[in-house]
Symmetry: C2
Subunit: 352 residues, 2 copies
């Protein structure tokens, strides 16, 4: 598992490096502009700065469900997936006003550092860098040497995925205006906001490039990627409160400070006594609350066994995904099916 | 001229109304979300709220350069053009922190009014509504009943146009960090930031849909749309300082307050004495400067005959565009050529 992921990782890093080098020449822009080159640099920097490359593995393994021969279009699909992700991170960090991302500055705050007296210009430039990444994520598919039909199909998949992400993010913000969101709401947000573009679309792209019609497997793919998406979202929410800040490379409690009514917060609010609930509500959404207050929220959860409950739930959804993948054996290749079967549990173990 | 534009306008309004009605059903989104429907409403509201529909006329007239038969794909191209424009306005109003647009609230400030205690959420929702409009501007082309090759070609044109706009906007912000931008810089910004997506792309789409290869006419189309783009940018910059606020439906002097080093500001700074230049620089970029201070800047220009110089220059570029169009007679249809020939002067006369 780990070996295979590392292989995709190496291959992809070379590809991405080459892509951004070529972009310096091919990106049409006003000749005088140094800011455009700077935007290109910031896109490259964020894209290459760590981040699990799970999406690229999903793409390649989905093609391997069908064939172990080389498949045209996968390189461009991989670039498209990463550029869409880069777009999502940049706009997300504007939406959340986040200074950091993957152990470095967010693109927004990189611009703020460059233009310390012009925060509004920094906001504008970050927004445009994000727009540019979105555009490039589609252009790279248009420029593929694959057949017209495949290129067109891939563009369609990525447009669909990006749209799901936008509506999912809108719904995600709506969630935080709901005092106690129900589970279906959280599942739906996890599916739209992340599973669709980071798991479903890579799998669809891989299958399409390998000559399969992804619409034939609509239900199977949705079931698998939705379960894995929910499981991973639960893990993220769990770790934001109960994780190890040092191991994650980012502080805990940011969701509490930002007033995010995520899986962990929902579980705590549901289990809490009236008095505890009042305490949690008084801390939730206070940007300047102390670490001790964050701990107090975490302790309310601990008293009601919320951490264990969350771990069980995320395992449940991971198992659900694995069971779905196991059912693919009769029409797809064994070693790739085994990858999809093991992935959900592996993805949880890595970090929890 | 006016009649023909009014006809496109009527036809397009019906088309757009129908498109947004269908979108309520077809836009896939988390089922619980009211915010997504609200975003849809705000996109419709901004898209239908006035705004010259010149781009749609350019599209149809470009097809009529080739044929006066009905042409498949034009309706979707028109929707795509308007949705890209809607995207541009929404993100632009975030970048500029503009409360108003076309005599109503900007999308950003519409959200601020709905969520008065959550300015950060308002920013995020507006940004996402803009992202959604960009996505829809491409999806509508994918969903056209035109041939695969035409759909793909149209998507390529719009991706190219959007990318030019993004790099043009980045370069536009860079311009304002240049104490005295040279003319080429301003021309280049006008071309990338607006002419490419609002004039070049509509013409390319119309020609492509009508069966012409737009790349064959690369130079002619670039020359025409660049000249018209520069001419119209000059008119906008002129009017921002010397226009009639009541007739325009927006206040004058916003560019001065925002520190935009546009054609008018450049001309004034170039003509001014040292003392006058110091005065202009002291006012430029002061968001709270008074109307009297704006008038003082305008008066510096008047003393050096800047308004007349600007009017002459915008006419020069309009004439250049008209001369280019006149040269199209030997390979394109007369009445459409005549439209493109008259358009530049007409576009200036309407408002200056």
């Amino acid at each position: 598992m780990k070996l295979r992921l590392a292989m995709y990782d190496r291959k992809f890093s070379v590809l991405f490096e080459r892509y951004f080098q070529a972009l310096t020449r091919t990106l049409e822009a006003p000749a005088f502009s140094r800011f455009v080159l700077e935007a290109r640099d910031l896109l490259q920097d964020l894209s290459l700065r760590g981040g699990k490359r799970m999406r690229v593995a999903l793409l390649h393994e989905a093609a391997r469900l069908v064939t172990d021969e080389p498949v045209a279009g996968l390189d461009e699909a991989a670039l498209s997936i990463k550029l869409l992700q880069t777009h999502a991170l940049i706009h997300d960090d504007i939406i959340d006003n986040s200074p950091t991302r993957r152990g470095g500055p967010s693109t927004y705050y990189a611009y703020r550092a460059r233009l310390p007296h012009h925060p509004q210009a920094a906001l504008g430039l970050a927004l445009l860098a994000g727009d540019l990444a979105l555009n490039l994520s589609q252009q790279v598919l248009m420029d593929s040497a694959a057949t017209l039909a495949l290129r067109h199909g891939m563009v369609g998949i990525q447009l669909h995925a990006a749209r799901a992400m936008f509506t999912g993010q809108i719904a995600d913000m709506e969630r935080d205006f709901t005092s106690l969101p129900d589970e279906d709401m959280l599942h739906s947000v996890a599916e739209y906001k992340s599973a669709r573009y980071s798991a479903l679309a890579p799998m669809q792209l891989g299958l399409l490039a390998a000559g399969e019609r992804p619409t034939r497997f609509h239900t199977a793919l949705h079931r698998y990627t939705r379960s894995i998406g929910i499981s991973e979202q639960m893990r993220d929410d769990y770790q934001d409160l109960y994780g190890d800040a040092a191991a994650m490379g980012k502080p805990t409690g940011t969701d509490i400070r930002d007033g995010r009514r995520n899986y962990a917060v929902r579980a705590i609010l549901t289990a809490a006594t009236d008095e505890e609930r009042a305490l949690v509500e008084s801390i939730l959404g206070s940007p300047d609350c102390t670490d001790a207050e964050i701990s107090a929220v975490a302790d309310v959860g601990r008293r009601h066994d919320v951490p264990r409950e969350l771990r069980e739930q995320m395992r449940h959804f991971a198992q659900q995904a694995a069971a779905e993948a196991a059912s693919w054996r009769h029409h797809w290749r064994e070693d790739a099916v085994a990858f999809f079967e093991r992935l959900p549990a592996w993805s949880l173990e890595r970090t929890s």
